[in-house]
Structures are given as C-alpha cells and as structure tokens.
C-alpha cells in the first residue's frame, strides 16, 4: 500500500467547486500532527483565494482523544475562512460520535455518508441550495463600485459603477478613449484605481496584482494582441495552464514523473480547446507568422486555457472580416453556453453587441452615461449624442 503525502491528500475539483481531503488510513496521535495537516490544507486554500465545498474522506482514520479538540478547532476554522459547506465519508464509529457531538455543540450538520458517491450526491444538493440562496440574495458576481482612475493629470475613468451577473454576456461600449480598456485593466489588476472597489465572487478589493486576479478566475485578451511571439500556438496556449501546473524546477529539469504527467494532462486539456476553436492545423506554427484573425483566436484560446470564471475580451473582433467575426461570435456564445463562463467584452461593432449582449454599459469620457439591455441603450438619446459627438 502506498502512503500518500499530505500534499497528495488534497485535491481540488474546479468544476464542482469542491476540495477533497483524503484522511483515509491516517492517524492523528497528537495536536502537532493535526497542525501539520491543517497548515497544508489552509495554505492551499489561501492560495486559491476563493471558497470551496469540502469533501472529507475519513475511512479508517484514527483521531486520538488528545488530538480531538485541536482537530475540531482547525476544522471549524477552515470552514469559517474558506468553506461553503462540508460532506464527510466513512468515519469510524468513534470519529462519527465525536463529529456528531461537536456538531451538536456548534449547531452545524454533521453530513456523514457511507460512500463517496452518496456524499457527492448530497454535495450536489448542497451546491444547488447554495446557488438558489445566492440568486435570491442577488450577490453580484462582479461589482464595480465608484471606480476612478487617472494617469497623472489624465482622468481615464471617473466614478463608474456597474454589476455583472453570473453567466451573462455583457458589453462595454463607448467612443475611442472612453476608458473601456482601462476599465478591463482595473478589473484584472493591471491598473490600480485611485478610488472605488471591485467585488468579485464576494471578495472586495481596491488593488490587487494581475496574478491574484488570475487565481480568482479572471482571464482576458488584449486589444493589441499580446501573444508570445517567439512561441508556437501550442506553447502559447499551454502558458494559460501555468497557474495549474505545480511540478517544481528539479522535476521539470529531469522530466520526472509529476512533471511529465502534468505536461500530458494539460496537453489534453489544451487540445480540447484547440479543437473547440478549430485551430488544429496551426498547432505548431510560431504565432508571429499567423494572420491577424487567427492570432486573435489564439489569444482567446490562451485565455480559455485558464478555465476562467470571468472572461474579459478587449475588442475580440477588431480588424476582422465578416466571416471571421461570425466565427468569433459563435465561439463566444459557445464558451458562455458550454462552460457557463461569464463574459465581459468591449466592442465597437454595434451589430455584434446587439447579437451577443445580455447587458450593455456605455462609457464616454471616462464616465458611465447609460446601462441596460442592448435595445434600451441603443435608443437612449444620451448615447446617441455621445456617439454623434465623437464622430465629429
């Protein structure tokens, strides 16, 4: 029987927002052992920067009476700081009693099941309840509050607020220099606004670095394609998996098991995206040699490789011909449909905006001048005059 390391005992299932912890066959003899395990768990959780459901496997796990108090305390803390709810599998009679007992004390449900499948089923129920509850209280998926940004004397954004709902496709429109790209840069942490706050998935923040935004599940493409010119299409998309790759330098240098396995796993994922965006034939081509339209598609592929919750697209269709635009529209709709990804895009082509968007925000000179459905916005006199003013 192989003994798992603490690290291997923790698995994140992104798709169901669940962290699985496998305590099977473990023995916690004292508080120190509990701490080592929980320190690992906490640090991994903190790294993700979001909340998770917990699926805990207790099969043949022994918790000594001396360790129990610490175990209960650490478990509770993990739940308070990072948890959305827990289900447990296969606790021994003794552990079960202890859990039930502390459940009674702390007034939480013990949720203990006999098999992993049962637990997963219950977890599904729990996720649904949670989602419904969230929808009911209408906590915004992304909330931009009173954001102002200036560069020296130039005011790029002034007091802009709006909400984006989970699962929708929203657009930001506005004349050139309105501050649209700057807004995206604020949302994913490239620019730091002087005022205001961004709330994403319940985490409020004023400033953050782009990496933190990426860890929380925000991906983006760029107005002026920002691909890695010296690398092939495949490698460009593989960089999108960067945050999910954990092998260390030595493992990579010697191409050891974990590094090799990881490379293969992610390659499979990347190939799915390549198929999805229909760019199989250029897989090995250096991106610098591709025509503009395809480069835009690779840019999207790299963002998708991050499996984002929120996808920011800065003029994904600029400079494309009608056919390419249609393809791109189809891809955006498919991403939204199939993966449930929330999309926020900037676009100048009003036709495209009409077709795609559930919700539109209009900026002009750094201020929000209108928001609403595409139709509402289009007939708004303020918007019309802003556009007419800009074209003169």
């Amino acid at each position: 029987m192989t003994i798992k390391t603490n690290t291997e005992r923790i698995t994140f299932h992104d798709a169901i927002a669940t962290m699985e912890v496998d305590f099977a066959n473990m023995t916690f003899a004292d508080a120190a052992q509990v701490d080592t395990m929980y320190d690992e768990i906490e640090s991994r959780l903190t790294e993700t920067g979001r909340r998770w459901f917990f699926l805990v496997i207790y099969t043949d796990c022994v918790i000594a009476p001396e360790a129990w108090d610490r175990f209960a305390e650490r478990g509770k803390n993990a739940n308070i700081n990072h948890g959305l709810g827990s289900v447990r599998v296969g606790a021994t009679a003794q552990t079960r009693d202890a859990i039930r007992q502390s459940a009674g004390q702390e007034s939480f449900r013990s949720n203990i099941y006999d098999s992993r499948d049962q637990a997963l089923l219950a977890l599904g129920e729990m996720r649904k309840r949670k989602r419904d509850m969230q929808a009911a209280t209408e906590e915004a998926f992304l909330r931009v509050e009173n954001v102002s940004l200036s560069f020296g004397g130039v005011k790029a954004i002034t007091g802009v607020s709006f909400d984006i709902k989970r699962g929708e496709i929203s657009s930001i429109i506005g004349p050139n220099g309105a501050g649209k790209s700057s807004m995206l840069n604020v949302i994913n942490g490239v620019y730091h606004p002087q005022e205001g706050a961004i709330t994403f998935l319940g985490n409020v923040r004023r400033q953050m670095n782009p990496r933190a935004a990426a860890t929380q599940g925000i991906a983006r493409t760029f107005q002026n394609i920002a691909l890695f010119k010296g690398m092939s299409v495949l490698d460009n998309i593989m960089t999108g998996r960067n945050l999910k790759m954990k092998a260390n330098l030595l493992q990579q240098a010697f191409w050891l098991g974990p590094a090799q396995r990881e490379e293969l796993e992610h390659r499979v994922k990347v190939e799915e995206i390549i198929d999805f965006l229909e760019i199989q034939h250029i897989r090995k081509t250096p991106v610098g040699r591709l025509p503009y339209g395809l480069q835009k598609r690779v840019d999207l592929a790299r963002a998708l490789a991050m499996e984002p919750q929120l996808l920011l697209l800065d003029e994904p269709m600029a400079g494309m011909n009608v056919e390419e635009k249609q393809d791109m529209c189809r891809f955006i709709l498919d991403v939204n449909d199939q993966f449930g990804t929330t999309v926020l895009l900037i676009e100048h082509d009003m036709g495209v905006v009409m077709d795609l968007s559930d919700f539109v925000v209009v900026l002009d000179h750094g201020e929000k001048i209108a928001e609403g459905t595409a139709d509402e916005v289009r007939s708004d006199p303020v918007v019309i005059s802003a556009y007419l003013g800009a074209s003169h």
């Binding site: 890695f228 490698d235 990881e262």
Partner: protein, 358 residues
Amino acid sequence: MFYRENGQFKTTYKSDQQVFAIPQDRWAILAIIAFAFLGIPLLVDEYIFRAILIPFLILSLAALGVNILVGYCGQITLGAGAFMAVGAYAAYNFLIRVSGMPALGAILLGGLTAAAVGIVFGIPSLRVRGLYLAVATLAAQFFCDWAFLRVKWFTNDSSSGSVSVADISLMGWTINSATDKYLFCLGILVVFSLMAKNLVRSAIGRQWMAIRDMDVAATVIGIRPMYAKLSAFAVSSFYVGVAGGLWGFVHLGSWEPAAFSIDRSFQLLFMVIIGGMGSIAGSFFGAAFIVILPIFLNQMLPLIGGLFGLEVSIALVAHVEIMVFGALIIFFLIVEPHGIARLWSTGREKLRLWPFPH
C-alpha cells in the same frame, strides 16, 4: 531521400512531446553522442583535444547557461565571466576546505554558489531591463574581478589570485589524460543539455519565454515575473558556474582571475548571438564557431598574406579576429537574429522537401 518525416503521424501526445519528436532526429542525435563517446577518442590526437574539443565542450556548457538567460528569458548579461569565476573559485574552496570532497561534488557546489550570486545580481532585473540591466551585470563582473584578486581568503592566500588544482578523480577514475578530460566534460555536457532541453520545453521554460516576449500578458495569466526572472538567473548562473569549475579544474588546472575577465563575458554573449538566441543547438554552434575561428584565421591569414607577399604577424591575426567577430555580430543581428541555428534549420527544411521545393 532518407530524410523524410512525411507520413509519420504522431499517435499520442506523449510521443509528440519527446525531446526529438521526429525519429530520424532522435537517431541522428543518439548517433552523434555515441560517436562523440566512442569514436572521437580513437581518432583525435592530444592537441585537438586540448586546443579545440575540451574548450568547445566547456564553453558550450557556459553558452547554454547564457542562452537560457539571454535567449529564453530575454534578460541581457555582460557578466557571465564573473559567474564562471564564482563557480571556479567556489569549487576550489569546497575542494580544499572540505576534506574528502570529490572534485565533481566541488564543481557542482561551485555551480550552486554561482546560482546564489546570480540571484543577487539578478534582483535589479525586477525593476530595469536593457542597458540598465547590463550595468548591473557589469557590476557583478568588476566586483568579482576585484574580489578574487584582492580578497585572499577566496584564493587560500595565494598571490595575485592564482590557484591550482591537482589531477581530479571521479569514483576511482583519475582524470588526467586529455581523453579522460574530454570524456568527463562530454558526460557533464550531455546531462546538462538534456536538462536544459527539459526545462525549456516544460512550464518553467514557457514562463521564461512569456516574460521575454510580452511581460504584461505574462503577468495577466498569472506568471510571477520575479520567480520567472530570478529562476532564469539562478539556472543560467548554475550552468555558467559549473562551466567555470570545469574550465579551472579540467581545462586550465591552474588559473588566475583574468581567465574569467570581461572579455570572457563578451565572448559568451557573442556565442549566443552568433549561434542562435533561444536555441539549445545554437549554443553549441556558437561555441564551436568561436573556438574554431581564431584557429582557422591563424592558419589561413598567413597563407592568404603569403599569396600577396605580405608578412602576417600574430598581432595582426588577433586584430583581424576581433574585427571579424564585430562584423559577424552586426551581421547576425541584422540578417539572422536567430543565428546559425536558424540557418541550419532552414537548410534542413529545404533538404526535407528536396527534391520538390514547393
């Protein structure tokens, strides 16, 4: 006709991810390595070993290191010689101060020391690039030049920083003949090249290249510039440091700080530019070119001069040599920034399609 890859389809991603995805390439490389280990020792005389092959192997290793930093991660360095010096002197100190330290162990520890120093001098890269970074690496160069000349502790109190290492051995194998030295260096180079290849084709390599090509986009997908850059400095300096250790222990035997002067740093940079930035093979091409060119000019110039009845002095050959280097640097930067490696692969592609050019 034998060089064909058409019709070979990769059936799995795994086979696609091998170091050399095309079987012909794989066999060719294996054949070259086998020949280098088995054939060359039978064919070559002492002079060729000492004047060409051993320097070539060691400088290839150093160029590999410089290429990781300059070619893959896009960070310029004019101080590679300093990291060779750190590698060499650190290895020397490990050897004489730690009793029972094997030579190979000392050389590797020397490399690790160089990596640590590399990280320190790489810190400015987090704030500046281009020329400014070049200045930081020059600072490393001049500081090390001075330290190994003046700080007696590093050189075990020898005068003017000159130290020497007696014949070294590896698990009972005494490395003293030219052939032994050649094989020792070759073994290390093969392992290190494979490691470099692995690094640049895995996540860390992609991080380096991403930082090189477009750093804003890299941070947006979650790459930490600090980790990417400093790891490149560390790995690069490790390679260069090990090369320094070999240069001192194996090639020179006894050396002074001048062996790792700023000229060495420029030489290594030139190898990478001429050989091909961002290419493992390019490092070998560059090293070979720079080792062979002076020897070639030494032989050829007097002959050419003789045709015109001119006396060609040694000094003149030296001057022509640096002129040629200068001109070649400019030529490659303008005409083929990917160096000989690119010329080689273009040539090979032509061969691959031959006899149907389109």
